[in-house]
Symmetry: C2
Subunit: 311 residues, 2 copies
């Protein structure tokens, strides 16, 4: 429990929902992510010294920035009254459906815990990061849990926090394509149905149950049948230009499943090899260009990417 | 593929739903069940020669009895035009929430397939049995699939049929208590909500996903947290006298989880040992007597009981 004067942590972006896992399933993505440097300062409380890479879009007040909220909540949870100054470096687009706010929160919570000598296990950082998410987009852990823990994470409950890592079938790879299109998370969430038919609940429950079974058994044919969402995805597909064509392009390229990542506008494709994921990413970018008139960037990542860590 | 002149098959009762698995999860129960003798007769089509043990409550017309419907659908699926006569012996109560209609269908389908020399794998009998269930209570396979396959079965889809066996944690035992109370399945289904809040879908999906993970990892503490249903169970608990007290008695006796079996009025308790299951069964019977004024019978079964078979 050696405390430090200054430490830097990284947390990755993440794909949430993954089809039937609305608000409960998320996957860490290797590549894009946020970095937070936490430094001891005199006094008490959290201050954000600087934010880089956000084009000036994020609030600098600690209580309105997920890094700041998560840092303060981590101090509280550790029972430490200290002064902490943060520098947040955004390494991923904001409002992309890749868990940008969660990556900031996870990096900050992880850095502050390190700064204190790691009094908390990483699982205990989910709750402080949930507080941060609740401050900007709702109390859901499907991005913060994989951003902290890495890999594929199921969130059974947020009250109390109950998260578990799921096994990832060998070779499973994810392609994520992010179009140059602004779709605020709040707007995407506002478009969601308030109620769903009982039969939709039954189908969604069946598919997430089968997806979990497929992860445990490595049955990729079952995984392909289970990565289905007819409740949340249709609403979001309609908000993103060309999205239907992008999903079809991914499936035509051999993806096991494809739909909107989180609140969008990013679209993911789960694939059984890196080669197919790379082909799917190119096909999806082409479809965004042709059907949506949108430029895009792509990331290809193993499905068992690591979570938050010291850098 | 040796055909026979006469054959008898048994199929067990089953507990469906099991908390968050409404319409998609079911478990075969050792003990109660139905027996069907199928016999070749001249001509074509299915006839029910006799039904025993039903107190005269079941229809004798083949097209209105699940055994008859399943038998005819099995002939069709096998592509055989034959005359078949059935004798159905009910070995379990009707309308109890233990999959009585499904046990009749499964025993009949299994017997007819044997009679034809087993042209169909047992998984292919789910569809004929689904047709039978659809004729009396709705197109759901959460009783017919375990009645055929045994053990714990997840129904990912009924259109097309997509069912899978889940692993059963060692020692897992189920107690089922059936009160002397008439609750027709149609009435129990009519009481269901037509729509549910999106957040209820999220919670239900999270719990069934965690339940599947718990079965794969043998994590009984997780199983305990996941056997939760706040959508369908509350409606059904309210229809059964003393049901709330019965569930509390099961949990107080150490059950991992307890709620209504299928459409009720039976109540199940999942337990981590036979000893606890026996204690839970007694406590539940006492609670039905005291809080509901109802006599009851109890069955204690391993959670990996066998499915349909020749007898």
């Amino acid at each position: 429990m050696a405390t430090m004067e200054e430490v830097t942590a990284f947390a990755p972006g993440s794909v949430s929902n993954l089809g039937p896992g609305f608000d409960i399933l998320g996957l860490a993505v290797a590549g894009p992510g946020d970095t937070v440097t936490a430094r001891r300062v005199p006094g008490s409380g959290v201050r954000i010294a600087r934010v880089e890479g956000d084009g000036g879009r994020l609030p600098r007040e600690a209580e309105r920035n997920t890094a700041g909220v998560a840092a303060a909540a981590t101090l509280r949870r550790a029972g430490v009254d200290a002064g902490v100054e943060l520098v947040l470096r955004k390494g991923m687009p904001i409002g992309s459906g890749l868990g940008s706010s969660a990556a900031s929160a996870a990096a900050a919570a992880y850095a502050v815990n390190l700064l204190l000598g790691s009094p908390l296990p990483v699982e205990a950082l989910v709750e402080p990061c949930l507080e941060a998410e609740a401050a900007v987009s709702g109390r859901h852990a499907d991005n913060v849990a994989p951003a902290l823990l890495g890999g594929l994470v199921l969130v059974r409950s947020v009250d109390p926090v109950d998260v578990l890592r799921l096994p990832v079938p060998a070779g499973l790879t994810i392609a994520v394509v992010t179009p140059a299109f602004d779709l605020p998370t709040r707007e995407a969430r506002a478009a969601l149905p308030k109620v769903v038919p009982l039969q939709a609940m039954v189908r969604n429950s069946a598919n997430i149950a089968a997806l979990v079974a497929a992860c445990h058994t490595g049955d990729l044919a079952l995984l392909r049948r289970a990565v289905v969402d007819d409740v949340v995805a249709p609403v979001r597909v309609a908000l993103i230009p060309g999205c239907g064509a992008v999903i079809r392009a991914a499936l035509d390229a051999g993806a096991l499943g494809s739909t909107v990542s989180g609140a969008g506008p990013s679209v993911f494709a789960l694939c059984d090899s890196e080669g197919i994921a790379r082909a799917a990413a190119e096909a999806m970018r082409a479809a965004f260009r042709e059907a949506g008139g949108l430029d895009s960037t792509a990331v290809v990542s193993p499905a068992d990417a690591p979570g938050a860590r010291r850098v």
